[in-house]
Every structure is written in structure tokens, then in C-alpha cells.
Symmetry: C2
Subunit: 207 residues, 2 copies
């Protein structure tokens, strides 16, 4: 209904809003900014979306549907998700990186969404958390998990670590000199993470 190839003015307004909201935050973007970006009059923005809030809601819904589509792949085959060996997708971050094309405004928008404390962000994370718990339980059932008393905390730990890489993406890129969402950067990051998740990072020391 509203694909990326949608070139109607309405879709262009929504895409511009998505990008600008992600870059500067919704409060710092005016209706006139969005209209200028989409080469339409400010009035048309309100005509199509009723209000600025209506536009925000529409952008939210659009992003949400993208994430739903992204997760649908993982959910339909939960066993392959986060499994060992040489998996295509071994973490949430990798799933994210594989689903979002380079230069996409989605990561920046997600960053703002989580920052703003928007209820939609809460729902999103809750959904992802449940998926992670399911995955951890599956790993435990197949004997591929280290003995752990607190699976919920482990799931939260794993999920939050992946989300952090996305949310703090720019800082990671600065520190490492590699974009961790690019194929090479993701290989480096996933390799490090997987090393830690399999063997740990520290050795035992005499107590």
C-alpha cells in the first residue's frame, strides 16, 4: 500500500519526515522543513496527515511495519535465529544489518524512538525481548547454552548489547574506524561478540 517505490506526494512527505525526524528529532523539524524537502507546500502536509502529530503517527506506523516484516523472517524460523555453527544470522544486530540497506534512515529513527521513551518503542523492545527469551530457551533446550540460573537477565543482556551497537552506532564507528553496520564492520563486531559469547572474555583468576 505504501511501498518504497511509492512516488506520490504523500509518500514523499512521509519519507522526508522519516529521514528528517531521524536526523534532528521530530521537535526540531518543522512542517515547512518537511514540505521543502518534499517540494510541496506546507499546507499539503497538513492536508494529507491532518496534523504534525498525524504525520508522526504515520511515520511510526510505517517504521513499525518495516520491523514487523523484518522479524517475520526470523520468527517463522526461530531455530535458525541465534544458532551456532556458521549461521547467516547469529544476532539481532546482524538481522538488523542484513535487513536495513546502507544509508537507510531507519537506524537514526530507531535511536530517536528509543531515546524519546515513546510507548511504541517500549512495545517494540518488549516484542524483541520476548523473541530473545524464546531463542535463549531454545538454546537451553538443545543444550547449547551455558548453565544459567537467570535466563531472563541473560536474554535482556544479549538483546541490550545488540541494541546498543545500533543505538550507539556512530560512537562505535568512531572508536573502531569501521562502520559496524557495514558487512566488514559487522563481521568484525560479530566475531568479537561471538568469541565472548562462546569462550568468555576474562580468564578465571585465583580467588
Amino acid at each position: 500500500m505504501a511501498s518504497d517505490r511509492d512516488v506520490t506526494a504523500r509518500a514523499q512527505i512521509r519519507n522526508c519526515a522519516l529521514r528528517l525526524f531521524g536526523e534532528r528529532g521530530p521537535d526540531a523539524v518543522t512542517v515547512r522543513d518537511i514540505a521543502a524537502c518534499a517540494n510541496v507546500s506546507p499546507g499539503l502536509v497538513l492536508h494529507h496527515f491532518g496534523s504534525k502529530q498525524g504525520l508522526r503517527d504515520a511515520v511510526d506506523a510505517h517504521v513499525l511495519s518495516m520491523f514487523d516484516a523484518m522479524l517475520a523472517t526470523a520468527i517463522e524460523d526461530p531455530a535458525a535465529f541465534a544458532k551456532g555453527g556458521t549461521p547467516q544470522i547469529s544476532s539481532f544486530a546482524e538481522l538488523f544489518a542484513s535487513a536495513i540497506p546502507a544509508g537507510s534512515p531507519i537506524p537514526a529513527y530507531l535511536r530517536r524512538l528509543l531515546l524519546s521513551g515513546d510507548p511504541m518503542g517500549k512495545k517494540l523492545i518488549q516484542q524483541w525481548f520476548e523473541l530473545t527469551v524464546t531463542t535463549v530457551d531454545a538454546l537451553a533446550a538443545s543444550g547449547n547454552l551455558q548453565p544459567t540460573q537467570d535466563r531472563a537477565a541473560l536474554a535482556a543482556f544479549l538483546l541490550v548489547n545488540d541494541l546498543a551497537m545500533i543505538v550507539l552506532h556512530d560512537y562505535v564507528a568512531d572508536a573502531l574506524g569501521t562502520d559496524p553496520l557495514s558487512p566488514e564492520g559487522m563481521r568484525r563486531w560479530a566475531s568479537t561478540a561471538f568469541d565472548v559469547y562462546r569462550h568468555g572474555a576474562f580468564t578465571k583468576e585465583e580467588s
Copy 2:
């Protein structure tokens, strides 16, 4: 010069601004909001800080000095930082939790700072990253580190994981039902993290 016990109108304005900026973001807070919170007239805010931007700068400087003081403890004894055994401080997050009192506006402010892409946040993270690299190197020198080719990536991974808990604090609290910055919550979180960092999370599976 500007301690927490400072009850001058100037300090109250700064403290109110710190809290409100952290809660809603600087753009969503008006000078009148801050003045009302501090029980002063809007004019006084500008009288003391010149402009809203001047107030933002003052708040930034105040927060920065707090972090400097926090890190001074860790830097003066880097060996104790992130060391094994039964340490008081075994992670950046724990250092953070121990230095920031409950109900402090600092975590929320840090969250905004990091996610807003402010240059000050970049400088802060760079500083913390260097400290983490130093710590990782120290661990490697003392033989307490698993063999790793990519120490920079490991340092970034560890730092980002700790920051994630702070930045995504509210979501973690929701998922776990425990505030991960409270003493009990931190114990739970640190226990999970330390388990993973010592033994890993997943077991090897046949290739």
C-alpha cells in the same frame, strides 16, 4: 564552586534545567518551564546564563565535571578497575551506579546526550573508550584475558554493553522487573554479565 548543596537561585535554575533537560530533552523544555520549576521569573534565567544556550552549556559543564570526578577515582587506581575476584567495581556500569545516587537526573541526561549526537557526548565516549582499552590491555598483561586478536573491538564491545544498560535503562527495568541501577538490580545484572564474560553464554556445538 557549585556543589549540590548550593541553594542559590542560580544553582536551582541549573539543577532544574538538568532534570528537565534529561526528562524531556532541551528542545521540549522552555525557559518558562525552568523558571517555574525554580520558582523564579523567566527573566532571571537569562540574567544568570545569558541565553538558553548558555544555560545548556552550564549544565553540560556541570555534568562533565561530575563525570570527571567519577572517573578520577577509577583512573587513579586502574588496576582495581574491572578486575576479577570479588571487586567492588568490576564494570563501567557498576562504577556509574556506585557514583550516582538513586533518583539522580544524571542517567537521563547522559541518555539524551549520547543519543543526541552532541559533540560533548563524543568526547566523553572517546575518553571512556581509551580507559577501557587501557583496562583491557592491563588484563591482557596480567594474563587474565582470553586470547583475542582484536582488543580494540573487545574494548568497544565491553564499553558499549555497559553503556547500553545505562542508555536503555528503562527498557531493561521493564523487561526484568528490577531497576538495574539499584543495588539488587545491579547485583543481578553484574552477575549475569560476569558469568558471560568468564564462561561465555553459549556452548560449542559440533561443526
